[in-house]
Symmetry: C2
Subunit: 213 residues, 2 copies
Amino acid sequence: MSNVKVASFGMSIDGFSAGPRQSLDNPLGVGGAALMQWVFPTRTFQQMHGEGGGETGADDDFAARGFANVGAWILGRNMFGPVRGRWTDESWKGWWGDEPPYHTPVFVLTHHARNPIEMRGGTTFHFITNGIHAALESAKKAAGDCDVRIGGGADTVRQYLQAGLVDEVHVALSPALLGQGEALLSGIDLTALGFKCTEHVTSRHAMHVILSK
Amino acid sequence: MSNVKVASFGMSIDGFSAGPRQSLDNPLGVGGAALMQWVFPTRTFQQMHGEGGGETGADDDFAARGFANVGAWILGRNMFGPVRGRWTDESWKGWWGDEPPYHTPVFVLTHHARNPIEMRGGTTFHFITNGIHAALESAKKAAGDCDVRIGGGADTVRQYLQAGLVDEVHVALSPALLGQGEALLSGIDLTALGFKCTEHVTSRHAMHVILSK
């Protein structure tokens, strides 16, 4: 069955999934990299970035599971890049270099139209200007029997959660405080939306929880 | 050195330390008991409630540490009981029976004066009507060289955190969703207050974090 899922989403003790003041130097906002310490050493992450080795175990299992069976991605505009407003030129092609780690169609939510960008390795960025439902429809069509992964950022995940369009969320709680930033779950009544905590595994670096219906 | 600490404070994935609608049947609010599943099996908890045995390990270590070196407690009115407004009679003496688990002076924040209540086992409840600073002053005097523990509930902890009066917080993150309830940290910039995550241990049931300055 095709699911809509959020995976490997880091969250701080105080509920933030990114720090404040995202920029070219701080794609996850100030302090936000602390939320991904669990994933950097994993085999999945290391191999994705062309390095050998990497650790196996619970953290790697969750990192790998997030990429399994994904047929399309949806990203918010800020997750695609630090450019705001109209695309002044076509030079920004995402944070990820020539071969982004998606390898599927990626639907980017934006208010500003732009032509699709075909990247190496099977990733094509499509820019969707008519809202989250339209993006999900396109992503589901592209994914076929595979899952659609909502890649983030926090605001995009919140919009899909609040619209009742998400089937499963994997949150990786990190032992870090951010103080300020992008809150992930606050103000969303996940229980009323039908979610339960259906699985949890603790590792040395994080507590992994699966929230699903 | 005498510290002001919060310990063994349960929190859900969505940031709540108690569920909604606290009552005689649900002292921790609806669903709130899920936040304390990590503590119930521990030796510390079992022995405190007159049972033998109980589990040792990380959960028990943190439960025990919360009670070590405590010379006085501070509780909010709602943590003391479900009675609201004026004390209509003197019959309510806390949730904990004749011998509460404090064994020290306990300072209860309330807007409504009441005579102290001496319980078995060294616990005396004092009712403080002139605010959190006055309660802390009395508690520190009573505790001497020992620590003052802010027992809760969430709103009381938040008031002491926001006033900059807390030295250390131990949060036990449970793999549970509450949807609604008493938020513990949201809206408080702990980083600006000087806190860092200085220690973390994961167990099968929870992720324990120590936030301190």
